[in-house]
Amino acid sequence: MKLGTGVICKSILALLCLGFTGIPDARASFRDDLGASIFQYASESSPTFYLSNQSIFETQSFLTKAELYFESGPRGSWTFDPDPIRFHFFFDDEKRTQVWLGRDHPLHLLEERWIEPTSALGSVWVQNQLDALNPRVNGWVGAGLVHSLDENWKLVFTYSPLFLPTFGPSLGFSERGELNPARFARLPPESVVTGGVAIPIRYQLQVGQLSELLLRHQVFVGTSFSNGATSVDIFAYTAPRPNAVPLADATLAVGQTSVNANVSINPQFPRETWSGIRIQRKDLLFKPALELVQNLEDYPNHVVSLTGYFKAQSLPSGFTNLSPRASFGILTHFQRQFDAPRFSDFLLFLRVPLELTPNLVSRTIVQSTLLPSRRSLYWMNEFEFSIKKDFSILASLRVLAGEDDSYFGAWRNQSSVSLGVKQIW
């Protein structure tokens, strides 16, 4: 069977149709945040236009949250990402077994589980990074269930036949192998030096058979214990690695006037099996959650996060939906050797809102990778002034800095200021 994007679109539409059958439901809710801003990037001489929209539609048995993001200009990018989009229902009258279909993260049906990129599991899970400074952990397309064994224990199972890898800012390969990268694209090596001679590299993407790439089994099993003071999740899953391992084949292309290194990249998504545990003490200050995920085939490869949460009403906003919760913590990975810079390069993070006046809210995000020789910083401050209940104006400053070979340092010329408006329906 060949699977194309058409099939995926049709599936999503079917789910939407299924969801809209719940509209007459009295408990249906819809909210839409539409924002528009002008951005001035340090790297650009002229401003760019930025549009974002976040729609949440929820009924008793259907939930979708669709994000739209668009940035003008030759280096702008866009995304429309409905996630989650799920139809869920209880399988039995006792409401012990809840089944879902659609696209969602397996743990999202558990109470107060929102998988964030700053968590250990989120950092190794498939993400949407098209809005590079605001990545989102994506769900799987498939079906799952949550079965309550008793008041405290639950079983979680999810199966997905369709693998969607992490999407990041486009490199914009041309037919001739030249790049037209998006603003936050992580640029591959520019040239190859051999024998003291630098040769420019041209890239070609060899995706191969799409069905072989996408039709991959993904299985998640877990159990969860929760009482008033503690929650513990233990889980294991197998899925293709979300970030591609590029299998490169290089040739020297001799043209009429120049020589280029033609690098043909065949992205590979090798299967990985992970296990993990998440322990959260809800009775302690900041409800600290410790999370550890372990690659079962590569034992030195594991990620740890420690996150504290605090209550804040001001999140999310149009631009800071990294997580719906205010939090701070640490995320780090351990590996024998480091290759490309990663988000989890000993990341310290802080997301804190501050209600300065009833109409003025300040939101601050600080993320800093502290791994030696990979130190970098992302600092965002946003001020939202509500003119009306459903209309506000926004101003923000984003500062990016860091060493050459660091996660945020790669974008250090992309600091920006912005001014925008937001309308809520």
Binding site: S191, V192, T194, V197, V254, Q256, N262, D404, W411
Partner: protein, 778 residues
């Protein structure tokens, strides 16, 4: 107030520094995009392919082949696994393939070598494979070439016939790669020019004439087997291959010629090879049409290269029409090689026959093996008294004599010398040229030096050869050579002896040149050249170069010549010491040695040859006249041509010739005395007495025959003593009286106050003589 001010200053500073920080962040440059450094494992040096360790050689070859073919497969042009000329130009211009520091030159070189290799349109995997196959096929030959020419211990004496065959084969096969196409000299020049660095302007300048010379050489050498006016690699390759096939069986002869095979080793095989060599050369030349080799191309090449032309070669060509009837003044006929092959055959045959049974098969040291056979020319030239190279009867000596005897035979036949029995002045020039041509590779060295932009050596130039003629050295050599052969004198009958006494003179011509004399002449030139280098090196004589000339201090020569005599002419040295060194050899050699030019204190290095030649001449006179070899010249009342008379006759004849040659000053008084002694026996008796007493003083009493006989025999020392008096009485007088005498040139002052004896004579009082050594078994 002050506090407010301080606070304002602090805030201002913070704002300023804060602004600066924000500005630096805002203006941060993006990180440079990464560069992939490709560092493949370095390949072992390609020279290891030529390693004698077969495993190492094979593995190196495999590594290179797989690396290059692997790399090539990763290069994409318009066609699969093939790069056109244009694509190669782009590839090389990018710097990925480096054949020179300048990329454009690199590209030119790459395209040129491709065309030279016959890959005109480009190169593909197939062509690369064939190139590797070629290397693998010729690996052992390339190894020979590599070991021979790239090793630091290159020595032409170690070249084996097998190596020559290998190299010719390799070269032939290499040029064959070019394919069956005629390339004009101009186009071949265009192809090779990029390979000649710009730092070598002389080589670049001479490239076209060099190619022209090469084409002419192959045209002449290979005849109609190759293209006559163009470079056709395939045909030249086939010619060389055919040459190898023809001459493979002559390997023993070639090995002998290159000095790495003893003439006594498997004599029959050597004789057979020598005969085959001549036959092969004959069939090679006569079987095809071979055009003349144009001499002017050599001169043009030298001119373009900026080096002195090979004077000896060019002058030799003037003789070619006489030596070879097919040659002209403008061109040499390859048929001359047929005649030379005959000379080679005679040489090898004589050497092999003479040394048959000597039982010396040592490949490297056979030349020093003692000679125990019978070879008349060598016996005649052998002399136990002088010059290390001629007083040891070895296979090397015999081999050399055989070569020169074969050459002299050829010259005699061609120039009809045997009819006259005399050697003309032009023959001396021919021999000089021949020897310079044979024993010197100066022209080759100059070609290499000029190509490498190194100073060019002036040796073997017109100047150095003119100098020989100017100073009468050739005359001196001819005189000495005439005396060297130990001509048998035992045939003189009592009647003949009485007749000589009555008639007062020997009828035999004192100066003539037969074949053995010519052989000695050639040998002597060889000897003089070898000894000259030996003197400069062994006696540490400082050489000063000025342009194309080399000089050595005259005083240093005077200081060193006692040591020269001690080592090479021990009998003469001992006799001079016995009679007073300064009084005898000191004055004679100081007089023979030219004075330095006005304003200078030195002489040209070749002028050292006069010491060797004079010493040989004096010793030869003694050998000739000392018939009973008792180291003394006795008189006889019966024999009119006794030993003393012989010495007087020979020396006066030689003196006359030397005077005519301008070698010694023409002194009318001496000439008169010489005539007197030859024509009046009273004068002759007086002269005999003078010879015996070592002085001409008071000889009047001894003019009576009875008194003359009372004076006893003369010796070499007494002869030198008389010669010194005749040459410069003033100096002799000063030496005798212990006063300062005339100082005509630098070093003359060493003759007085026993300075030579006290400071510059070797410590051993007596020089060991070869004959004595032989007797004592040392």
């Amino acid at each position: 107030m002050v506090r407010t001010f301080r606070a304002s200053v602090l805030v201002s500073c913070m704002l300023l520094s804060g602004c600066g920080f924000v500005k630096s962040i805002w203006n941060a440059a993006p990180p440079k995009r990464k560069t992939v450094i490709l560092e493949s494992k370095p390949l072992p040096p390609f020279s290891k392919v030529f390693s004698e360790n077969e495993d190492e050689s094979a593995s190196t070859f495999r590594e290179w082949k797989s690396s290059i073919l692997g790399s090539f497969k990763q290069i994409e042009g318009r066609q699969k696994e093939f790069l056109s000329r244009e694509e190669i130009r782009v590839l090389v211009a990018s710097g990925l393939v480096k054949l020179d520091d300048h990329r454009s030159t690199s590209a030119d070189r790459a395209l040129a070598i491709l065309e030279i290799l016959g890959f005109k349109d480009g190169i593909g995997i197939r062509e690369l494979n064939s190139l590797f196959d070629w290397i693998e096929l010729h690996k052992s030959e390339a190894r020979d070439f590599y070991l021979l020419f790239l090793s630091e211990t290159y020595d032409s004496n170690r070249i084996h016939a097998r190596q020559i065959i290998s190299i010719v084969n390799l070269f032939g096969s290499f040029v064959s790669l070019l394919g069956d196409q005629d390339v004009t000299p101009e186009h071949l020049g265009e192809l090779i020019l990029p390979w000649v660095p710009k730092t070598h302007p002389r080589a670049r300048n001479a490239l076209n004439s060099g190619i022209d010379l090469g084409i002419s050489f192959f045209a002449s050498f290979c005849g109609d087997r190759v293209a006559q006016h163009a470079w056709n690699g395939k045909r030249i390759g086939l010619c060389l291959k055919s040459l190898i096939g023809e001459f493979e069986s002559t390997a023993p002869a070639v090995d002998f010629m290159f000095g790495i095979r003893s003439p006594s080793e498997n004599t029959e095989a050597l004789l057979h090879a020598a005969a085959a060599f001549e036959a092969r050369v004959r069939s090679w030349i006569h079987g095809h049409h071979h055009p003349l080799f144009p001499v002017s191309k050599v001169a043009q090449f030298s001119k373009d290269l900026g080096i002195p032309p090979p004077y000896a070669f060019l002058k030799m060509t003037e003789w070619m029409p006489k030596l070879n009837q097919d040659s002209t003044l403008e061109g040499l006929s390859p048929k001359f090689f047929v005649e030379l092959a005959g000379v080679v055959r005679t040489w090898i045959t004589d050497a092999a026959n003479a040394s048959k049974g000597s039982g010396c098969n040592a490949q490297e040291h056979w030349k020093s093996c003692p000679f125990s056979g019978d070879y008349d020319p060598a016996t005649q030239l052998f002399n136990g008294e002088y010059a290390t190279l001629i007083r040891t009867p070895t296979l090397g000596f015999v081999s050399k004599v055989a070569l020169y005897h074969a050459l002299s035979g050829f010259i005699f036949t061609k120039l009809d010398i045997e009819k006259t029995g005399e050697i003309g002045s032009r023959i001396k020039e021919l021999i000089t040229l021949s020897i310079r041509l044979l024993d010197s590779n100066a022209f080759t060295q100059n070609v290499i030096a000029a190509i490498l932009e190194k100073p060019v050596d002036p040796v073997n130039t017109e100047d150095s050869l003119k100098a020989h003629t100017r100073n009468g050295l050739a005359e001196l050599a001819a005189l000495a050579a005439d005396l060297i052969p130990n001509r048998d004198q035992s045939g003189r009958t009592l009647l003949r002896k009485l007749q000589s006494q009555i008639l007062g003179r020997e009828k035999r011509m004192p100066y003539s040149m037969d074949r053995i004399g010519l052989t000695a002449f050639i040998y002597l030139f060889d000897l003089v050249g070898s000894l000259n280098s030996d003197y400069l090196l062994r006696y540490d004589l400082p050489v000063k170069s000025e342009g194309t000339l080399r000089f050595v201090n005259r005083r240093k020569i005077i200081e060193s010549f006692p040591k020269i005599l001690f080592d090479h002419f021990p009998r003469l040295y001992n006799e001079c010491v016995a009679w007073g060194f300064e009084r005898t050899c000191g004055v004679v050699f100081d007089e023979i040695l030219p004075n330095s030019l006005p304003g200078r204190d030195d002489l040209e290095t070749y002028e050292l040859d006069v010491i060797t030649l004079s010493a040989v001449l004096i010793e030869s006179m003694m050998n000739r006249c000392d018939r009973n070899s008792d180291d003394s010249l006795s008189g006889s009342p019966i024999d009119g041509y006794d030993e003393k008379t012989c010495m007087i006759t020979v020396s006066t004849a030689l003196a006359k010739r030397l005077m005519r040659a301008g070698f010694v000053d023409q002194d009318h008084q001496t000439e008169f005395l010489m005539k007197l002694t030859n024509h009046f026996f009273i004068a002759k008796w007086a002269a005999k007495a003078a010879l015996a007493r070592g002085t001409a003083k008071g000889i009047a009493w001894f003019a009576l025959p009875a008194a003359n006989w009372l004076t006893g025999p003369a010796s070499l020392g007494s002869v030198m003593s008389v010669a010194a008096e005749l040459m410069d009485p003033a100096k002799v007088k000063a030496v005798e009286t212990g006063t300062d005498g005339p100082v005509d040139s630098f070093g003359d002052e060493l003759l007085y106050h026993n300075r030579l004896t006290d400071y510059h004579l070797p410590r051993l009082k007596e020089a060991p003589r070869y004959r004595q050594k032989m007797r004592t078994g040392e």
